[in-house]
């Protein structure tokens, strides 16, 4: 039994890892879409697109791993959550269709002044980000389960709390996008990205604050997890670390160190994500299904664990190589327009 418990926990961490990598990697690339309307000049948009065009597909693959891995390792959770999150998931998929095809389509249209694929990229990115945030909120507030089935209604996901998390995630993605631009661009584009980073950082901090205050009111278990003795010894470092990273981030923006803001924003995401983990564990569907109840039989989880152990390091290796190939500032190429 001990072995089985360990296996489910290991898999919970693997899925959490895949989702986290997705959140930060597609996060900055969805964030660029959210910021697109603020950069109306075609030259700027071309640079923004080119900063991510070679890697966006790899970023999105982590979402497929998150979904596919969830079905394989925790089929019950996948089977309950997808119908519960029906509308946000469909909205996310449709958003991803629009923004995904825009990477190629926007170079193919003959109407260069009013490029409708720029609108598709911005709208699709914003929709996907919002839908993901809403899905997060809907999971946190819990879903109604009966007899291995989702038993709630079609609109249960829609609450003030889920809208709050929706906007919060979109704001966070936009901050990732802005700090990515600080990292990858120069000149006026970078200056504007710096200004946006300031605004978005405060927006994200506000969002983290409000969501952190609201979450314990959703369910007594969350409050007990965070505020009772001796849990508080383990949970208190999370907000303290958030404060420390925030200070570093503010300083890096003030001193205009191009590489730092993006990395520190990733760290801020990691801490917020860890906070969500603290709230949820060991539930995979909060307050109704634990990771052990949802887990696949051990032989399915072991079969995949072998692949994960060998392949994930390999994947991280060649993904890093792909980023390395396209490293450095993206330049607006004059003379080729």
């Amino acid at each position: 039994m001990i072995a089985a418990i360990d296996l489910a926990t290991v898999w919970a961490f693997i899925i959490a890892f895949a989702v986290f990598v997705y959140v930060v990697m597609d996060g900055f690339d969805l964030g660029l879409g959210i910021l697109f309307p603020l950069f109306p000049a075609k030259e700027d948009r071309d640079v923004i697109m080119n900063s991510v065009a070679p890697v966006w597909d790899g970023n999105e693959t982590w979402l497929v791993l998150g979904g596919g891995g969830l079905m394989a390792a925790f089929p019950l959770a996948y089977a309950v959550l997808m119908p519960a999150l029906y509308t946000p998931v469909i909205a996310m998929l449709i958003g991803l269709v629009f923004r995904g095809v825009a990477f190629e389509f926007r170079w193919r249209t003959t109407r260069l002044q009013q490029n409708r694929w720029d609108i598709a990229f911005a709208g699709g990115s914003a929709l996907a980000a919002l839908a993901q945030g809403i899905a997060l909120g809907a999971i946190l507030q819990g879903v109604h389960v009966e007899d291995r089935h989702y038993a709630g209604g079609w609109w249960d996901w829609l609450t003030p709390f889920s809208l709050l998390t929706g906007v919060s995630v979109a704001a966070g993605y936009a901050l990732l996008g802005a700090t990515w631009l600080v990292l990858k661009t120069e000149g006026e584009l970078r200056d504007k990205a710096y200004r946006l980073s300031w605004l978005l950082l405060f927006a994200m901090l506000g969002a983290i604050g409000v969501v952190s205050i609201a979450t314990p009111f959703l369910d007594i278990h969350y409050a007990q997890r965070w505020f009772t003795w001796p849990n508080v010894i383990l949970t208190a470092p999370v907000p303290i670390a958030v404060a420390a990273v925030t200070i570093l981030l503010l300083r890096s923006l003030a001193e205009r160190k191009d590489q730092q803001p993006f990395v520190l924003t990733l760290l801020l995401f990691a801490l917020s994500y860890a906070g969500l983990g603290v709230s949820m564990y060991p539930f995979i569907v909060p307050q109704s299904i634990t990771i052990w109840q949802a887990a696949s039989p051990a032989n399915s989880q072991i079969f995949m664990l072998v692949g994960v152990a060998v392949l994930i390091p390999l994947i991280l290796g060649y993904t890093a190589w792909a980023y390395w190939v396209f490293r450095g500032k993206v330049k607006a190429g004059s003379g080729y327009h």
Binding site: L65, Y86, I90, R148, H149, P297, I312, Y318, F326, G333
Partner: protein, 469 residues
């Protein structure tokens, strides 16, 4: 708009719709990725510029097709949960890992190297770039391996048991992966992808030959495509025949539906060429048939008995009219493709491959044949295994999510609108690229992108890095 349909019917319609759109792109990109790898290898080997021109020409088309395949594929990976949650819960422990391996071994490989393949030639140099192209091509084939294994397990389940929660669990992973219909289906699908691509490339080559016979790139692509058609189409017919015999062994009701055999034939079954299957009456109306030929094809004996659907409980009948007709469309196109390939051999022998306008017109007309045949083939195999999702064990009705019809109907409507709006434009962009002949000094996707314009060398990139830090 969808009044009168139940949630399960709408979920099936949604799966059929999104899947049909999706499969078109992988069918093309599996073949095209291999073709691109061959073109780049020939360029590296011979140094002839025409191969690099053709590589860049098809790379631009590949980029668009691959992008559409990716986004329509993400939809598929979530659809098991949204519309088929009971199926996902029950089969997740068996086919979930197969799909997880597809992501780990194939999707990441393709996505990781795609950026370098599309935009990285100047940055990494020809040899490393060829490695990237090869990785993408291999990735598409590995992807086909896993997803066809998962699909084949649903058709011919093996190596499993059922646990207390009603979930399928694996007993023997090798038997799960290499289930009885998998090798046949894999070969049939990969050959289909290669044929599909060959006919698209051949059609585009023929289109430009009809306008100008002197362009080197046009001639090379047409010649290569016709070699593929001539070699692969006959192989595909043999592979299809073997797949059919395997289906007869493991899913006899599907073959009965394909053949239109409602009745049993104790002393030799006829081959029904055409007719109107009448599902309610359980017979084929107005059948044009050749006596005993079906027994000869399926049993290799004229008088061999063949059972019909009258031996199968009515509740387990597949929807015969769809299976029957889609099968005929697939086979008919298969023979037309083989005929095209053989005609090209004849033309090549006579030395008129680049001059015979009839052949060129035929090749243009046949350009979409592979797509239609792939769709017809999938419709045959997927409708033929109804009313089950896991053949003989789990019914389609027991697989669906506990959703109300309006929810599924709305999402179906949304997908229909979005897919037509987005993918039809993508197809127009692809056709627009195809309408241009391949030019000497062809530009790849990179040179359309000002920021990564030609001339960025590794040295320049390092210099840029230096000035940034």
């Amino acid at each position: 708009m969808f009044d009168g349909f139940g949630a399960v019917e709408l979920a099936r319609a949604q799966f059929a719709f999104t899947m049909s759109f999706h499969i078109v792109f992988p069918a093309f990109s599996i073949g095209l990725a291999s073709y691109l790898a061959v073109l780049e290898a020939l360029w590296l080997w011979t140094g002839r510029a025409v191969f690099l021109d053709l590589f860049k020409y098809w790379l631009k088309i590949f980029a668009i097709a691959f992008g559409m395949g990716v986004v329509s594929g993400i939809v598929m990976s979530y659809q098991f949960g949204t519309n088929w949650s009971a199926f996902a819960d029950k089969t997740g422990p068996v086919i979930g890992p197969l799909m997880a391996y597809e992501v780990l071994t194939a999707f990441f490989l393709e996505a990781g190297f795609l950026g370098v393949m599309l935009f990285g030639l100047e940055r990494v140099g020809p040899r490393l770039h060829f490695t990237a192209t090869l990785m993408v091509a291999v990735g598409t084939l590995i992807s086909a391996f896993w997803i066809l294994s998962a699909n084949s397990w649903m058709q011919t389940p093996a190596g499993y048991a059922v646990n207390a929660d009603g979930q399928f669990v694996a007993v023997d992973w090798l038997k799960v992966i290499f289930n009885p219909s998998f090798p046949y289906r894999l070969v049939h699908m990969v050959l289909a992808a290669y044929l599909t691509t060959a006919f698209v490339v051949g059609g585009v080559g023929a289109f430009h030959l009809l306008r100008d016979r002197q362009v080197a790139g046009t001639r090379v692509m047409f010649s290569m495509a016709m070699w593929m058609a001539a070699l692969v189409a006959p192989l595909q017919i043999l592979a299809g025949d073997a797949h059919g015999l395997n289906t007869l062994e493991h899913q006899p009701a599907k073959v009965m539906a394909m053949e239109g055999h409602y009745q049993s034939h104790p002393d030799g079954a006829p081959l029904i060429l055409f007719g109107l299957p009448n599902q309610a009456a359980g017979r084929v109306d107005g059948a044009i048939e050749i006596p005993k030929l079906s027994s000869l094809i399926l049993k290799h004996k004229l008088d061999a008995p063949l059972a019909g659907l009258d031996t199968v409980p009515r509740a387990d009948w597949p929807p015969v009219p769809i299976t029957f007709w889609s099968f005929r469309i697939m086979v008919g196109l298969g023979f037309l493709m083989m005929a095209t390939g053989l005609l090209s051999l004849w033309a090549r022998w006579r030395g008129t491959l680049f001059h015979w306008r009839f052949l060129h017109r035929l090749a243009v007309a046949m350009a979409p044949a592979g797509f239609v045949a792939v769709l017809a083939g999938w419709i045959t195999t997927e409708t033929g295994r109804q009313p089950f999702t896991v053949y003989g064990v789990l019914r389609t009705l027991e697989s669906a999510s506990p959703l109300a019809a309006p929810a599924v109907g709305s999402s179906l409507l949304a997908f229909v609108i979005v897919y037509f709006a987005v993918f039809s434009v993508g197809v127009v962009y692809i056709l627009r690229l195809m309408a241009q002949p391949p030019h000497p000094g062809e530009r790849g996707p990179a040179s359309d992108m000002p920021a990564r314009a030609a001339g960025i060398t590794p040295a320049a990139a390092i210099a840029a890095e230096g000035s940034a830090s």
